[in-house]
Amino acid sequence: MTPTAGKTRTQTQRFWHSVLRDKHLYLMMIPFLLWYIIFCYKPFGGLVLAFQDYKPLLGIEGSEWVGLENFKTFFTGPFFWRLIRNTLLLNIYNLIFGFPVPIILALLFNEIHHSKLRTVVQTISYMPRFISTVVIAGLVVNFLSPSSGIINTFIKMFGGEPIYFLTRPEFFRPIYVLQGIWSGAGFGSVIYYSSLCSIDTELYEAVMIDGGGRWKQIWHVALPGLLPTIAIMLIMQIGNLMNVGYEMIILLYQPVTYETADVIGSYVYRLGMEQANYSLSTAVGLFNGVISLILVTSANFVSRKLGDVSIF
């Protein structure tokens, strides 16, 4: 017996020894892993639907294979560019208008030196995080109502004509972005605020000794201190460019606003659940999933390269 063979044998032995030692830990994991297998991995098998002309009566075995036909239908269909455009634009508007809000909020919270007041303001601003999508959608619909909504009441007060916002495609994107800011910005500031708290107070004092006021402090200390967090959050959001909160969109859109409101997620939902076109729905979902996977993994890769902090 050669020494290497002996070594490998002890290695294998050591491996089995530690597996045996930790047998209870492996036992614990069984229900956990089973859930992942049944509810996350098993559905991957269903992706074959994307390459079939699936008929519920025939099942997966009996349905006809069509190759890439479903993808072709989607790519050449009338909605392809509209869906891509709407998905990307909603995210880009979110990035431009929504992304800076929590950062600004965190900077302003940090400037409240009265700690009780700060806690009160922060606590209030986190509140919408606890309100469900359905209720927020209900508030949006009611507030924008042409007959009795509060927004139109104000418009009428100033002598304007009431507008039925939710039936006008040009208003959908601002509405979506604004509701997102209302519900998410306060809580989104937590992550920035916590990195502001870790900035050394001596840095602020140094600026003050140099005669710098509050703006100088924000500009030269707070903002640079936030940069790594901002960079990571930005990269993460770019990684999610192809994912929109369709659970909210399907509550707010109507056929008349599909032109600007319909996104890939909502289309997948409509195709599958309302039109029972399982195959095409799966194909569109798979297309979206693959693009998202590429975006998210490259975003993750970049953030790992940039620094040791990464979200996942």
């Binding site: 469900s132 619909v141 998210v296």
Partner: protein, 289 residues
């Protein structure tokens, strides 16, 4: 310390900005509350803005008279309580072994669960999976759907990793096995962590609607959010589209507001307790990757 003039101006400006933030956050909720108590006619003509106009409990009475509201409320409590329980059991049973550096295959298991965060089979394959398992239109489906959130597993694992190994070693010397160590040592030490993750799951369960809407057909099984979706969104649209404002259409609107109040109330009551845990969780999640 004396404040310079610039600092004073800054403080005043900041104070008003913060006031604006609070008002913008609170006003929609405040309006909902006052509208639900107001005279339906005043609400529909838009004369309710800052304070309730008239004081009526009729809308609430109507909401309380609807049987399906109570059924849905009960369902939500059932799904939230037992669902969260299932969430916690599965999450802890997964996070604890994964927090042990000595565990062989730890990296493989981590990859196995992380992949699901980046790629999933999508709506239709998942839906058909539930159907094939015979779970369509069952309460079990709602409990099992989202029974583990990978993000929360990572949170929980990070918490467990921070417990010093020496605790485990001394218990091992006393002959305790891993189950006992988890139950008697790790769980009592991780109460704040468990509270945080429980809150995450509970709020998520309480507020979710999408998969319940897809998976349930029987109206006696649907949770509150699915019923609310029907009431709030669909009724509101019909109110908007109504050509003339008849009395029924008008009361429908205040009923919608009253329903929102009833649905949001438990969350708002729990809110001051919940928010501390939420903030703690987000910080831990950010530190560790």
């Amino acid at each position: 310390m004396k404040l310079t003039k610039g600092q004073k101006v800054f403080n005043v400006v900041n104070f008003f900005l913060m006031l604006a933030v609070c008002l913008i956050t609170v006003y929609p909720l405040w309006y909902t509350v006052i509208a639900s108590f107001s005279d339906p006619l005043a609400v529909s003509t838009g004369s309710v803005t800052i304070l309730p106009v008239g004081f009526e409990l009729a809308s609430f009475k109507k909401v309380f008279e609807m049987d399906n509201i109570w059924t849905a409320y009960g369902n939500t409590i059932f799904y939230s309580v037992f669902g969260t329980l299932l969430n916690m059991v599965l999450t802890i049973l997964g996070a604890y072994p994964l927090s042990k550096r000595r565990l062989k295959g730890r990296r493989v298991f981590m990859l196995f669960i992380l992949i699901t965060m980046w790629f999933n089979a999508g709506m239709m394959p998942s839906f058909l999976n539930y159907r094939d398992l015979g779970l369509y239109d069952t309460r079990a489906a709602i409990l099992l759907c989202g029974a583990i959130d990978t993000f929360n597993v990572i949170l929980m694992r990070t918490f467990f990793e921070n417990v010093p190994d020496s605790m485990e070693e001394s218990a091992k010397l006393d002959g305790a096995n891993d189950w006992r160590i988890l139950l008697n040592i790790y769980l009592p030490l991780s109460v704040p962590a468990i509270a945080t993750v429980t809150m995450y799951y509970f709020v998520g369960r309480w507020n979710s609607y999408f998969w319940s809407m897809l998976l349930l057909k029987d109206q006696s099984k649907v949770p509150l959010q699915v019923l609310l979706k029907k009431l709030i969104v669909e009724v509101s649209y019909s109110v908007n589209e109504a050509v003339d404002m008849s009395a029924t259409v008008m009361t429908e609107q205040t009923i919608v507001y009253a329903t929102i109040v009833i649905a949001v109330l438990p969350m708002l009551i729990l809110y001051p307790f919940l928010q501390k845990f939420f903030v703690k969780g987000i910080m831990v999640g950010a530190i560790k990757g």
